[in-house]
């Protein structure tokens, strides 16, 4: 009589066999003392293994709230989307420049009609228009394409704690910025004339922001993308996001201290904000940006970016002359 091999005994006890196999084994066990003794021995071995392994592990495992993980997952999704958008923006600019160059070449070779055809399909200010290649304005059509559509008419209150979370949430609402609690948003005022859209978040031409649009921004950065939004009846709060060629993002929020109190409460560890306080923020599931605050009269600027360069950035912070 064939005895049941060890691995089948284990599989049987682990309930890993089919019903037919179980029936076969059970009928054998009923008639074979050797195998039934082996079954008992293996069952004991199995229980001991389980018992030993049970001692391995944290003594208590607390279950974090699912919603907390969902927040992190959502923040990562936003970061990925922004990276993608940033990449798409750069790619579209390259394509536009390339096509513009192609059009100019065709014109030079006398193919005027072909150039016109290309130009019509290409929303670009090409070098043939006289702009130096290095200071190409952002094509308006490209800007509009990258601008998230505004789908909300009501603005939720500030939910996140950090500046980064505030921006992330603003982006998440597909275009509409989120006002700190207590801020009544009765009018949306896009800044800049080019690339204006229904949404507050919009990509603005680099040269436009370089000239200054009333926003608090850091001078002299090698930016590939600038986003600006203004909140409030007179645009009391201006938020600027400057994406550097290195991929890092410098964010500023500028506005009356009274209106930014809520945001500041999360950024400043209860201390005096007049001198600026460097501290690590937390969030976004990545190494945290730091936030520096600066108070000028009744107005406050929050500057967020990589900790190692923040102090330098603050000294280069250009505040709007009107304030």
């Amino acid at each position: 009589m064939r005895h049941i091999p060890d691995d089948e005994q284990h599989a049987y006890l682990d309930q890993a066999l089919s019903r037919a196999q179980c029936v076969e084994i059970e009928s054998h066990l009923a008639n074979c003392s050797h195998c039934s003794a082996a079954r008992d021995e293996i069952a004991a071995l199995r229980d001991r293994t389980t018992s030993l392994l049970a001692s391995l592990g944290p003594s208590r495992v607390a279950l974090p709230a699912w919603s907390d993980l969902a927040v992190q997952a959502e923040q990562r999704r936003l970061i990925r989307r922004r990276r993608w958008e940033s990449g798409a923006w750069a790619a579209s600019l390259l394509l536009a420049v390339g096509l513009g160059y192609g059009a100019s070449q065709m014109r030079l070779t006398g193919s005027a009609s072909a150039a016109a055809s290309l130009a019509a399909r290409t929303p670009v200010v090409s070098p043939v228009d006289g702009s130096p290649a290095g200071t190409l304005p952002v094509p308006a059509a490209t800007v509009a394409q990258l601008t998230p559509p505004a789908t909300r008419t009501t603005l939720p209150k500030l939910g996140g704690g950090t500046l980064a979370a505030w921006f992330a949430e603003a982006a998440h609402t597909t275009g509409a910025p989120v006002a700190p609690s207590g801020v009544e948003v009765s009018a949306l005022k896009p800044s800049g004339s080019q690339g204006a859209s229904e949404g507050l978040w919009h990509t603005v031409p680099l040269d436009s922001t370089q000239e200054g649009s009333g926003a608090a921004r850091v001078e002299g950065l090698q930016v590939v993308q600038v986003q600006v939004h203004q909140v409030g009846t007179d645009g009391q709060i201006t938020a600027v996001e400057q994406r550097l060629v290195t991929g890092e993002v410098i964010r500023t929020v500028e506005g009356p201290a009274s209106l930014l109190a809520d945001l500041m409460a999360h950024q400043i560890a209860g201390g005096d904000s007049t001198g600026g306080s460097l501290q690590n923020g937390s969030g976004n599931g990545r190494l945290a940006d730091a936030t520096l605050t600066r108070r000028v009269g009744s107005r406050v600027v929050l500057l967020s970016g990589p900790p190692e360069m923040l102090s330098t950035l603050m000294t280069r912070l250009k505040l709007a002359a009107t304030h």
Partner: protein, 169 residues
């Protein structure tokens, strides 16, 4: 409650324990387990249970390769003391538990990597089919591997226990 959240509630503890037995650091095991489920939310895998353990195993492997004890990285949950109510055991309980853990850890270390993986996956609640899918073994070979792994674990543990006993007497 969606399927993934349901899986999270029923499997998180098993994932933490599975990871702990690979990285031997409770905080790190928690971090990695959370990482697994955050990724699952983004990927929405078809077979989430098998996926979760496969990713957990990969993360643990990466961790082992790094071979350094990193400091805490996951920030949101960890920085908020309210979400992670760790209750410290008493010193006696802790010492006894530690000794017991050391013995089992040492015994587990004597197993081959394949045997250890299969044993830990089984202990985390995976079926033979799931273990086969993750390890590349034939389903029929899972029983053989488990049989060997269990026997070796017990033998190694008992040998160590006897050695300790002899040393004390």
């Amino acid at each position: 409650m969606d399927d993934l959240e349901q899986l999270y509630k029923t499997t998180y503890t098993a994932v933490v324990r599975f990871l702990f037995r690979k990285v031997w650091d409770a905080d790190r095991a928690h971090d990695l387990a959370q990482e697994v489920f955050i990724r699952a939310m983004a990927h929405r895998p078809e077979k989430p249970r098998a996926w979760v353990f496969a990713v957990a195993a990969n993360l643990a492997r990466d961790e082992a390769r790094a071979a350094i004890r990193r400091k805490r990285h996951l920030t949101l949950l960890k920085d908020d003391p309210g979400t992670m109510p760790h209750q410290e055991p008493s010193p006696d309980e802790s010492a006894e538990h530690k000794e017991q853990m050391d013995q089992v850890e040492e015994a587990l270390a004597t197993l081959s990597e394949r045997d250890r993986e299969v044993l830990l996956l089984w202990d985390a609640g995976m079926s033979y089919t799931e273990i086969a899918g993750q390890t590349g073994l034939a389903v029929g070979a899972v029983g053989t591997t488990l049989a060997r792994a269990r026997r070796r674990l017990i033998e190694a543990h008992d040998n160590r226990h006897q050695r300790d006993h002899a040393a004390h007497s």
